[in-house]
Amino acid sequence: MATITFRINRYNPDDERRGHYMQEYTLEISKGNTVLDALNRIKWEQDGSLTYRRSCRSGICGSCAMTVNGVNRLACETQVLALKSSVVTVEPMRGYPVVKDLVVSLDPLVRGLLTVKPYLITKTPPPSDQERLQSPEDRAKLDGLYECILCGACTSSCPSFWADKAYVGPHAMLKAYRFVADSRDEGSREHLEALDDKHGLWRCHTIFNCVEACPKDLNPTRAIGELKKELVRQRIG
């Protein structure tokens, strides 16, 4: 048990004059309590107006990405005591427009995603009564890519995105590479088309923030590097 002070960003869109401010709540925290547990207890026991997204509680839906003590994390899988801090600061992810308190707009995330044609593109029709074959080795190339939960933590942490809101973002390029790397996909040119652009691949300056921010331990920077290689190969080949 420990007494923890939560300093939480508040912002009510109906009260623009007040703007953003920090509000403090105090809770007794036991081993096993997550940041989401703490937010829930504040909302349900102290202040019902505190607003944040949440759903699965198990790190797979991607709803509760937020900035905890300066780092983008999923609140549901962040143990409070593991932060080793008597004051825990919780803020909305930076870079996205704030809707209310800890809730950000997902529009930039979706916009970036749509630019890479985020679906399997095929020209050859599949066999009618069975699956396409894919070797376990080819399938293994998708590990570290298909697990993305679209939480937005990577793109929010990216200085290139802070500077250029039209940048498609590491999450979208990780998704693009998930298809370019898929042995079944026949549309790598189409996935890459929109990325050969100053708001696309070349905006990435290999800062690696996205890798650090990803709660699923994925590596968008590597995916972006592979896409750059692929694009160069297509251009000179």
């Binding site: 759903s55 839906c61 143990q79 985020p118």
Partner: protein
């Protein structure tokens, strides 16, 4: 009936109708059922999908272990075997015509997922990989466990859900993310659309549709320990009830054997399918006393009862309310390649490294076998039996078709949601080809929805929604959980009435319209009261033990009196019951042992 004029109800009690949208199809819920139906209908019709969370946040994505289909990629398998297993698993309450459709079409549905791009794990030959799961056997139950669950590591639901979302993007499905359904518009047996709340901006929206599909999922959040997401509050069930429709077999609630201790988060049955053991506090593999043949791979109802019995009789670990799921003997390589998410969850939530330590687990409320009654084409039935509501469809966990009967087998839910979502899509296409115009909208279409929002936003009581909901969850878990009896259920029915009285006196902290979860949680709690009453009353009436419904005071299955489906309606304060026979085609009920 007049054509709908939004101006006519503008600003009723200060909550305006923001706008009226018109689509051929409006789907509520963006899980596997809703999105699969959207894929099926969007090639030909204008389709909108509303979801209370952003589509890829839907709880289908938390499914882990696999999707069942007798592909026979790894070893001999037949749809007839899958059919028998599903029927026996259902404790003979599943409707065999619907089950036959499901198991026959399963291979087609799974292969279509592959064609769409789903990253299934693969066999050495490059085919979709399959694993063992509880209750899935060879030779009509006489052989051992069969490799039938098609999987993508232990993130199968995630892989399927994202694949469907991607195809929906490609098909230009219109999404209304973070729109919360408030009421159905059904008049004279015709569904005309629905009313929803725009969570992000606030505001009541009317959706005028020729066809509406509910794929609104389950309600595990009414239990204290649950694998379900916070969004799983069963709203769709209560919306159907409030529209005058019945619910079917609500007393059948599945408790998954292996939830992480205290958090209730799912530890996939794949953990046991890959060879994991269940161990009690004395170090025994106790399943040998309950299911000597199938052991850990017995169906969920039986395994959950076994675990709960061990705990109740003091054989939990250190006398506590948990036992162990032990994976250590599988070795690090197998755990990390086949069960990586289990490893991650055990580590992040319990700080247990399952390569080196056993995982503390307890049964967790997981799935609703009951729901909105439909026919085999997912048409919702006004009388619960044969009379469809024109233009209203339901599929997935919120529906009861009924393929799961009294107990669902693992991997059959992702199959059911996808397969009946697809069937609902095809049925809606047929319906829409014959339905050229939109039905009239009554002038008071949004009346009850507006009144509900207004009731909560102007609440001036003293009771806390969070506190009442906690009491409801604790009481339901204690008195209508794995083991039930008349005494506890009667007591619970009275307690729920008292709690509901308190609910009418709630307070609210957030009176704004934009992104107001205080408002949503208050409305959700109202939904919970509506359908939970049916779970309890149905459980009290069903004086037998069948599948997941286990009555200590009636421990035997009673086919003579209870081989039938429960139908229940709300009529004012009263619950009205009716029953309908089970469809039995190929397999006659017999004793169920594993």
């Amino acid at each position: 009936m007049t054509n709908f004029d939004p101006e006519s109800i503008h600003d009723v009690k200060g909550v305006p109708v923001h706008s009226v949208h018109r689509h051929d199809v409006v789907i509520v819920g963006a899980g596997l059922a809703g999105l699969r139906a959207a894929v099926e209908t969007s090639a030909e019709f204008d389709v909108a999908v509303l979801s209370k969370v952003f589509p890829t946040r839907s709880h289908s994505g938390a499914a882990q272990g696999g999707i069942a289909a007798a592909l026979a990629n790894e070893e001999e398998d037949h749809w007839e075997w899958h059919m028998f297993d599903t029927i026996k698993g259902s404790d003979y309450l599943g409707d065999q015509d619907a089950i036959e459709i499901m198991v026959k079409e399963a291979p087609v549905v799974v292969r279509e997922f592959e064609h769409m791009g789903c990253p299934f794990s693969r066999t050495p030959e490059g085919r979709i990989a399959q694993r063992r799961f509880g209750g899935h056997t060879k030779d009509f139950g006489t052989g051992g466990p069969v490799l039938r669950a098609c999987y993508a590591a232990d993130r199968t639901g995630h892989a399927l859900l994202h694949t469907l979302y991607e195809v929906c993007v490609q098909n230009r499905v219109r999404f209304y993310p973070e729109f919360y359904a408030l009421s159905l518009i059904i008049r004279d047996g015709v569904c005309r659309g629905l009313v929803a709340w725009d969570v992000i901006n606030g505001g009541v929206h009317v959706f005028h549709a020729k066809a509406v599909l509910f794929g609104t999922g389950g309600y595990g959040q009414v239990y204290k320990i649950t694998s379900n997401a916070l969004a799983n509050t069963g709203d769709g069930l209560s919306l159907a009830l409030r529209a005058g429709l019945p619910l079917e077999d609500m007393e059948f609630v599945q408790f998954h054997p292996t939830g992480l201790y205290q958090a209730g988060i799912l530890v996939s049955e794949a953990a046991r399918g890959e060879g994991g053991y269940l161990i009690n506090g004395k170090g025994e593999r106790f399943m040998e006393r309950y299911a000597p043949e199938k052991m850990e791979l017995a169906p969920r109802d039986l395994v959950s009862r076994s675990i709960q019995t061990e705990i109740n009789e003091g054989r939990g670990v250190d006398g506590q309310a948990y036992i162990y799921c032990d994976l250590r003997h599988l070795g690090e390589e197998k755990i990390m390649s086949q069960l990586p998410q289990i490893h991650e969850l055990a580590w992040k939530f319990l700080h247990v490294d399952c390569v080196k330590e056993p995982i503390p687990i307890q049964p967790t409320a997981h799935y609703s076998m009951g729901g909105i009654p439909t026919d085999i084409d997912c048409r919702v039935l006004l009388d619960g039996k044969s009379k469809p509501v024109a233009g209203f469809f339901a599929a997935g966990e919120c529906a009861c078709v009924s393929v799961h009967g009294a107990n669902r087998l693992g991997t059959n839910s992702q199959l059911e949601a996808s397969l009946f979502g697809r069937r609902a899509g095809k049925a809606m296409v047929r319906f829409l080809r014959e339905t050229r115009t939109w039905p009239d909208l009554p002038a008071d279409s949004a009346g009850s929805a507006i009144a509900e929002v207004e009731r909560v936003l102007s609440a001036k009581g003293t009771e806390s929604v969070g506190a009442i909901r906690n009491e409801l969850k604790e009481k339901l878990s204690a008195e209508c959980g794995i083991f039930r009896d008349a005494g506890k259920l009667e007591k619970l029915a009275g307690e729920l009435r008292e709690l509901e009285k308190r609910y009418r006196n709630i307070k609210i902290d957030d009176r704004s319209e934009k992104f107001n979860y205080d408002l949503l949680e208050a409305i959700e709690l109202g939904h919970m009261f509506d359908f939970v009453e049916l779970i309890v009353a149905g459980a009290l009436r069903r004086q037998e033990s069948r599948g997941a419904h286990s009555r200590v005071d009636f421990p035997e299955r009673d086919d003579e009196k209870w081989l039938k489906h429960t139908l229940a309606w709300k009529s004012g304060e009263k619950i009205v019951f009716d029953y309908k026979p089970v469809t039995i085609t190929r397999f006659q009920p017999k004793a169920r042992t594993y």
